[in-house]
Each structure stands twice: as structure tokens, then as C-alpha cells.
């Protein structure tokens, strides 16, 4: 299916919002204004945007250590995110989670995850709940090429297929796990080769082409909504910054050349060219979207900075749910 002009604009806005959030976070980290680890999604925006534009708030996603892009694409709130990254009480997790555990259950965002592959079985559980309830909701799990080598991914993928659950597996193949290239850790080039081993359909898409991602996800999500079970999409993509933070290590684990080539295929620039040619959005229009995101992120940073720190006395709050069972749910 071809995306409508509204969809195209929506895709653009989602990508731009991810980019501005991440660039801002990177800057803050460089200035030592963010505690902890920070894994930026810059370069990979087309994947989260292209997939999430097919989802409603009721559909769930589970994410990775590189999770900001997924949350922004799912509609996440800049202020809650930025405050969380700063460890503030007003953050999405009240400062208890940080970048690696950012989430918004109201938007069906079941959390970034600090454990590679840890979120995959959880998304399958959400998919099970959707089928159990007889809804047509879908859950999507994002994971990296590196994560496809971990046991939890394998078990969850097989389980989703065995139980024919409405789950979409989206592999963000950026060719590296931390600082180690894919060819040192797997003997295949395309992670999608694994899909057949679970008995689910798989497709490769250009992860720098948001429309291609959107189309593939549209098909897979529709399939899941029709009750036809899980699918697998491998998006070939690249991270423009380092595994974490912004600067590269002293050590050289990828060439400038390689990075440059991928940057030439910046998913936002590519898409803006296309939108302009198609007459959907001109340079000024695009600029306005950037400016809006920029204003929003500045406001979010201000909000976060002004926000209070968590009360140290809240340390032991929310380890458990005190609520008492009130009988069968409806």
C-alpha cells in the first residue's frame, strides 16, 4: 500500500522529532548534564518512525538500550523523557529508570531494556494478551543484529510462531554490536534468514527509507491484525554516533569512509528530498517541522532542568504494588 500524504507528513514529523531529541541528548551528555549511559538512535530514525506510524496507542512495543527513538516514534512526551534522562522526579519513571528503562505504558511502550534481548519475550507476552482478549492489537519488538544472537530472542520468536501470536519482530541491523562488527559474531549477512527457522515470513527493507519501512510494517501489522501470526522485518540501518554517547572511542572500530557513506543516506535528508520532489512538503515546510521540534526540545530541557529531583525518601517506594486484589477483572 502507498502511504497517503498525511502519512508521509506524519512519518517526517516522527523522524524529525527523534533526531532533535537525540541530538539534544547528545549535546547534554557531552556537557556532562546527563548521568549514566546514553545510546543514541540518530541515523536509524526511519525504522522506528516507519513501524510506529502503523500503530495505535493500544498497540505495544518493546525496546532496547537504544530506546528513545522508539518512544518518540510511539508518541512519547519530550518533557517526560528529558526529565527522566536527567533523573528528575517529573521523568517518565520518576527518575528511577533513566535512559535504559524509559517507558510509557499508556502509549503501549513497554520499556527500553538494559539487557540485550530482554524485551523480546515481554513483547511476545503482550502479543499473547492481545490474542487472549480477542482484540486486533499488535505488539512490536525492536532488537538489534547483535540481539539476534541471544537465547531470549530465539525462544520468544519460536514461541510467537508456535502460538501464532500477533507480534512483529523488527531487527535493526546496524552491522555492529557495541564495537564488534557483525561478521565477527555471525556467519550470515542477513538476520532475516532466521525467520524461516521459526516458520514466519521475513522481509529485508532499506532502513534508511522510511516509506519502505512503513510499507513492510504495514503489511506485517495488517497480517497480525488479521490473526495470521507473527512476521519478521530486517531493516538495514546504521548508527551515526558511537555505540554510546557521541564521541568515538580512541579505538577505531569502523572506518570514516563507511560512516560517511551511510551518512550520505541520512534517512531524514533522503526523505525530505523525496517529499520536496513529490510536492508534499517543501524546504520551508520541512524547516517548520524542525523548528517546532527544536522549540519543543528546548522547552523540554527547560522543564527538566527546573524539575525537582526525586525525594530520597522515595527510594523504597514502588518496589512492590501494595494494592489488594479486588476480584475478577472485567
Amino acid at each position: 500500500m502507498d502511504p497517503s500524504p498525511e502519512t508521509l507528513l506524519d512519518l517526517h514529523r516522527r523522524m524529525v522529532r527523534i533526531r532533535h531529541f537525540e541530538e539534544a541528548a547528545g549535546r547534554l551528555a557531552e556537557q556532562n548534564r546527563l548521568p549514566g549511559f546514553l545510546h543514541l538512535y540518530v541515523g536509524e530514525e526511519a525504522v522506528a518512525a516507519g513501524v510506529c506510524a502503523n500503530l495505535d496507542d493500544d498497540d505495544q512495543i518493546s525496546s532496547t538500550h537504544r530506546g528513545h527513538g522508539h518512544l518518540v516514534a510511539k508518541g512519547g512526551d519530550y518533557s517526560g523523557m528529558m526529565a527522566e534522562l536527567m533523573g528528575k522526579a517529573t521523568g517518565y519513571c520518576g527518575g528511577k529508570g533513566g535512559s535504559m528503562h524509559i517507558c510509557d505504558l499508556d502509549l503501549g511502550m513497554l520499556g527500553a531494556n538494559g539487557i540485550v534481548g530482554g524485551g523480546v519475550p515481554i513483547a511476545v507476552g503482550a502479543g499473547f494478551a492481545n490474542k487472549y482478549r480477542g482484540t486486533d492489537r499488535v505488539s512490536v519488538v525492536f532488537f538489534g543484529d547483535g540481539a539476534s544472537n541471544i537465547g531470549a530472542f530465539h525462544e520468544a520468536a519460536n514461541m510467537a510462531a508456535a502460538l501464532s501470536l500477533p507480534v512483529l519482530f523488527v531487527c535493526e541491523n546496524n552491522e555492529y554490536g557495541e564495537f564488534t562488527p557483525r561478521d565477527r559474531t555471525m556467519a550470515i549477512t542477513d538476520v532475516v534468514d532466521r525467520a524461516a527457522g521459526y516458520g514466519m515470513p521475513g522481509a529485508i527493507v532499506d532502513g534508511m527509507d522510511v516509506v519502505a519501512v512503513w510499507e513492510a510494517a504495514h503489511e506485517a501489522v495488517s497480517r497480525a491484525r488479521r490473526g495470521e501470526g507473527p512476521s519478521f522485518i530486517e531493516a538495514k540501518t546504521y548508527r551515526f554516533y558511537n555505540h554510546h554517547g557521541v564521541q568515538t572511542l580512541g579505538m577505531k572500530y569502523r572506518s570514516d569512509d563507511e560512516l560517511e557513506q551511510w551518512k550520505q543516506r541520512d534517512p531524514i535528508e533522503l526523505f525530505e528530498d523525496r517529499l520536496a520532489s513529490a510536492g508534499v512538503l517543501g524546504a520551508d515546510g520541512a524547516q517548520a517541522v524542525h523548528a517546532a521540534a527544536e522549540a519543543d526540545i528546548e522547552a523540554a530541557i527547560a522543564f527538566a532542568e527546573e524539575s525537582p529531583l526525586p525525594d530520597p525518601d522515595s527510594l523504597l517506594v514502588d518496589v512492590y504494588t501494595p494494592a489488594v486484589y479486588s476480584g475478577a477483572a472485567s
Binding site: 528511577k96 517507558c103 505504558l105 513497554l110 520499556g111 505488539s139 520468544a156 477483572a329
Partner: protein, 333 residues
């Protein structure tokens, strides 16, 4: 404490009490489902799920692949989405395969998410030695779980508690781990037919005496009770406390007894070194230091994997005789 429910004298087995409580929860709440290896068509390797699949169908009694990580994740994802899953791990030893999903994911999710998630998931499993099942099918690993903030852990010693604690676990809005002991599955006892809760975090004093306090749980309750009976014949009267829930621990009941008797033995089947006994004993010593007349005795399995040969395994598992000896020495100290 809640008074025990009426039993009408009906006696059923520990395994059957578990199954009955589970079926009743499934009847009462459409959000409760069960998933695990062989729990469906086969009814569970210990028969604990027999008949449920026929009655509730494949979506509510789910046969899963041999994938412990995905089984726990299935529960976590479903629980966060509003269902009330019971996921089974068959043998407690297999919990180790799923440890990331239990400890890093399920236990921490709520906290990491700033309180927003609710995780009403029950993990059921079976622990314990004594069936010549050797080193990978006989462990009692509860100490690992009790150390993890976010989990609750129960280990019932009898059919009444098996049913009541299971119901409390299923109704609890937190991830709970329900640990059966394999050698108790056939043990019969009075069990009320109607659903009832045994509250989480409440120990029960199963035998009263003023000379020595024996703190224990799970199958060791029976060994400790036998030992206490034997000691009574020698004039030593024991309080035997069945902890029932290990996380949270009912230290009030334990400390009150210790303050009265001044002599305490802590008994578990798990390996002694690093077992929960250390936590319990040092907790008691903190609260009842001035009352104690003798060092607290800790009894647990010796520091080796569980051996296969019955003659070795028998040596490995703490028993009434050993417990009796230690109680006698304690009373004399």
C-alpha cells in the same frame, strides 16, 4: 491472623490442593491463565494441571515450547498488559535458565518504570531432593530469589497452605514464586473446598513449646516436627515455626518465639552456606541478642551438589535425627 477456613474434614493431597486452588482462580477470574511445558494436554509432569486444558482450552492452559526465558517473559508481558498469568517452570533448577527474565525483568519492572507497571504474575515450580534426581533436578534455590527486591516467595509445607498460598499469590499484584516440594505432592491433609487465602508474609506456629524455637519451612517442617516430637519425649519442648512465606519474612513471629525460648535452630533443606538460614539467624540475633542463651543453630544441606545415589542423597538431606541431635545439644547448651 485470619482464622483457618472450614475443612469439613475433607482430606486431599498437596498436589491436588494446588490444582484445586488454581482451577478455582481460573473459574473466578477470566484473566487468570496458565502456561508452561506439558501443562496443557499432558496435565503437567507431576499431574498438577490435570484436566485444566480440557476445561479451559488451549488459550488458558497453554503448552509452551521448552523455553523457560520465553515462558517467564510471556507471563511478564501478559501481566503488564492486564492478565494474571501463572507460569510454570517444572523444576526449580530450570529457573536458572530464566534467571534474567525473573530477576532483571519481572522483579524490577515496576520499580524501573517508576511504579507504573503492575505485574500480577505467579511463577510455580518444584524444588527439593530425595527422588534420586541428582544435581540438576533437586535443588532448593529460594535464597537466590529472596535476595531480589520485587519478588515474593512462598514454600508451603502442607495441602492447606498449598491451596491458600497459591490463591494469595495469584491474587497478589506482584511477581510471586510459588515453590512446591516434590516429595510433598502426595501428602494428604485437610483442605476446605471453598477458595481461601493464606496471607503472604505470615508464619504459622505448628507446634508450641518453651524450650527451643525451630524455624523452618517447606518439607523440613515435617522433619523438624518429628524431631520436636522425639525431643518432647526427652522433656524438651519446641516451638516449631513454619515460615510459609520467605519473602517477605514474618520476623515478628520468629523473634517473639526466640525471645521466649532463648534457644533457636533454623532448618532448611537448601545448602547451608549462603542459604536463607543466615539471614534468619542473623535477623534473630539482631532483634533478640540479649535473650539468647546459646548460639543459633543453623541446619542445612552440606556444601556439595545433590548426589544421585540414594545412600549419598540420604546423607545430604537434613533429617529429623540430625535436627533432633542439634535441638538436644541446644537445649543443653
Amino acid at each position: 491472623m485470619t482464622p483457618p477456613a472450614e475443612t469439613d474434614g475433607r482430606s486431599i493431597a498437596y498436589g491436588a490442593a494446588f490444582a484445586e486452588g488454581l482451577a478455582q482462580m481460573m473459574d473466578a477470574d477470566p484473566n487468570v491463565f496458565v502456561a508452561g511445558e506439558d501443562v496443557g494436554r499432558a496435565g503437567g509432569v507431576f499431574g498438577s494441571f490435570r484436566g485444566l486444558n480440557e476445561r479451559f482450552g488451549d488459550m488458558r492452559v497453554v503448552d509452551t515450547p521448552i523455553s523457560e526465558q520465553a515462558i517467564v517473559g510471556l507471563g511478564t508481558g501478559a501481566a503488564v498488559s492486564g492478565l494474571r498469568p501463572v507460569v510454570d517452570l517444572m523444576f526449580m533448577d530450570f529457573m536458572l535458565v530464566a534467571m534474567d527474565q525473573i530477576v532483571n525483568q519481572a522483579a524490577k519492572l515496576k520499580y524501573m518504570f517508576g511504579g507504573k507497571a503492575t505485574l500480577p504474575m505467579t511463577i510455580t515450580t518444584s524444588a527439593g531432593a530425595g527422588l534420586s534426581a541428582a544435581a540438576q533436578h533437586s535443588q532448593s534455590l529460594e535464597a537466590m530469589l529472596c535476595h531480589i527486591p520485587g519478588l515474593k516467595v512462598v514454600m508451603p509445607s502442607n495441602p492447606y497452605d498449598a491451596k491458600g498460598l497459591l490463591i494469595s499469590c495469584i491474587r497478589d499484584d506482584n511477581p510471586t514464586v510459588f515453590v512446591k516440594h516434590k516429595r510433598l505432592l502426595g501428602l494428604k491433609g485437610e483442605v476446605p473446598e471453598d477458595p481461601y487465602e493464606v496471607p503472604l508474609g505470615a508464619a504459622s506456629t505448628v507446634r508450641s513449646g518453651d524450650d527451643v524455637t525451630v524455624v523452618t519451612y517447606g518439607r523440613m517442617v515435617h522433619e523438624a516436627t518429628s524431631a520436636a516430637d522425639a525431643m518432647a519425649a526427652e522433656g524438651i519442648e519446641c516451638d516449631v515455626i513454619d515460615l510459609r512465606t520467605l519473602q517477605p519474612l514474618d520476623m515478628d513471629t520468629v523473634v517473639q518465639s526466640a525471645q521466649r525460648t532463648s534457644r533457636v535452630a533454623v532448618v532448611h533443606e537448601a545448602v547451608r552456606f549462603g542459604g536463607l538460614g543466615g539471614e534468619i539467624a542473623s535477623g534473630i540475633a539482631e532483634e533478640a541478642f540479649d535473650y539468647l542463651d546459646a548460639p543459633i543453630e543453623r541446619i542445612g544441606a552440606p556444601f556439595s551438589p545433590v548426589p544421585f545415589s540414594p545412600v549419598l542423597e540420604k546423607e545430604w538431606v537434613p533429617n529429623a535425627e540430625l535436627i533432633g541431635e542439634r535441638i538436644r545439644a541446644l537445649a543443653a547448651a
